[in-house]
């Protein structure tokens, strides 16, 4: 089956409708048409650039370039995790914990999936490696950001409870145990919901893309299942690692709650 080519003017039609939507929100004074338009513009520019990069990458097929691309994606994801937190850990810890836990979970799983399960030749073949890592990082980033945000914000709101539990002689792990559990749950919930609704309520984006691009649905489904498992594992282990490290950082060596290590929220 031949894929129907898309011309730029056809995309311009879709863009025009986004502008109409922005016009509507502006008329309703929702104060978000500006960010809507900027986000739409970012989509166009970022994806166009990435398209160029991918074409070069696919042509070169060199491990260094794939690794470099992966590193850039990781650092941007780390920055994004930090930006999504209301009260992030100060002194580079917010960035460091998020980035390191994403690195450990997403990279390990992506490499494992490539070498053991899919097995392209060579294993880092960019057509497989980059989209896989991109999907894993994107979802792990959401999970880690949600969990860390929940952790720090709840610790801030419930500082009275945490300190009272410390006063009664509880170790820090016990004093923050409930909050840690909540944070992990909120990081994992989106992925569990996505798996539960996959195919019934929503057709996952990657599968839709593959089918639109002409892959047989049966194969697209297999890839989708693999990708969703990989994403779930990446998100799960990434969230566990981030919450473990983040909650440790909320206490010092004397097991005191140190909320002075959190940034004040921007007004």
């Amino acid at each position: 089956m031949e894929v129907i080519a898309l011309a730029w003017w056809q995309l311009a039609l879709a863009a025009l409708m986004v502008v109409v939507l922005a016009g509507c929100t502006a008329a309703m004074r929702l104060g978000m048409s500006r960010s809507l338009l900027i986000a739409a513009l970012r989509t166009v520019i970022q994806l166009a650039l990435v398209g160029l990069v991918l074409e070069a990458l696919f042509a070169a097929e060199r491990l260094v370039w794939v690794a470099l691309m992966a590193l850039v994606m990781l650092l941007i994801a780390g920055r994004e995790v930090m930006a999504r937190q209301k009260r992030r850990l100060l002194g580079g810890w917010g960035f460091g914990i998020g980035t390191l836990s994403m690195f450990l979970s997403s990279f390990t799983l992506a490499v494992l999936t490539l070498t053991v399960i899919i097995g392209p030749e060579p294993w880092y073949r960019p057509q497989y490696a980059i989209p896989l890592l991109g999907m894993m990082l994107g979802n792990t980033m959401t999970g880690v950001a949600l969990a860390l945000d929940r952790l720090t914000d709840t610790a801030w709101r419930q500082r009275g409870v945490i300190e009272n539990r410390l006063m009664l002689g509880q170790p820090w792990q016990v004093a923050i145990g409930d909050i840690r559990g909540e944070a992990i749950r909120s990081g994992l919930m989106p992925m569990i919901n996505a798996m539960a609704a996959a195919g019934v309520v929503s057709l996952p984006g990657m599968m839709t893309g593959q089918i639109l691009a002409g892959t047989a649905p049966g194969l697209a489904v297999k890839y989708q299942i693999l990708v969703m498992f990989a994403i779930t594992l990446g998100t799960g282990f990434g969230t566990l690692a981030a919450v473990a490290a983040g909650s440790r950082r909320l206490f010092d060596g004397r097991e005191r709650l140190r909320l002075d290590r959190l940034a004040r929220p921007r007004a």
Partner: protein, 206 residues
């Protein structure tokens, strides 16, 4: 089981307070008073090691800095003026059941442990918070305005129960209080915090 170890503050400094030296003998109650914002509560937090501070605190021969944080606080227990609760019912916050008669001595009903946290009044929270701490059998007590939310009748009841517990267990106790009458009733010694300094107040009324 009576503990016979004194609580000793050596050069403790936190916030505006500096170089606080103070020794509290076993079973002795030392009252602390001072204007709000003078640092009484923070001093107690330093003794419980909840905030970074200067100096050292000793419980007998045990140094605060040589003891893991939770183990220290398990022994030198701070009871804040406002208690916090995390589980559904009161009883879930108790490691061991409080001894018989304690609830009655505090003017609480026998089934108070089955109450939902949401329906506790501030006064009930304060009394149950004290009971929760005392029933863990620490070895020293730090009380931050233990009767702040109570009327006169329950205030005196709580005072009597606390002083009895402290006397029989031999806990060295720091007691932050505002009410001069209470200070005169419970404290053997009274220190006042003003301008970042701790000064002993002579008991003219005794």
């Amino acid at each position: 089981m009576g503990s016979t170890e004194p609580l000793r503050l050596a050069g403790v400094g936190i916030g505006a307070l500096n170089g606080i030296d103070l020794e509290v003998s076993p079973g002795e109650i030392v009252c602390l008073s001072g204007a709000s914002g003078s640092g009484k509560s923070r001093l107690l937090r330093a003794v419980a090691d909840l905030e970074p501070h200067a100096g050292e605190v000793w419980l007998g021969s045990q140094a605060q800095s040589q003891t893991p944080g939770h183990a220290w606080r398990r022994q030198v227990m701070l009871v804040p003026a406002e208690s916090h609760w995390w589980a559904e019912t009161v009883g879930e916050h108790f490691e061991v059941q409080p001894e018989d008669g304690a609830l009655a001595a505090l003017g609480l009903e026998p089934e108070a442990l089955t109450w939902q946290i949401g329906r506790l009044s501030t006064g009930e929270k304060q009394r149950l918070g004290l009971l929760r701490a005392v029933s863990r059998e620490p070895r020293a007590l730090l009380l931050d305005e233990p009767t702040a939310n109570l009327d006169d009748a329950s205030s005196q009841r709580v005072e009597a129960w606390l002083t009895e517990c402290i006397r029989t267990r031999g806990w060295p106790t720091l007691w932050v209080a505002h009410d001069q009458g209470q200070i005169a009733r419970v404290g053997r010694r009274h220190w006042r915090i003003a301008d970042g300094r701790l000064a002993e107040v002579a008991h003219a009324w005794k």
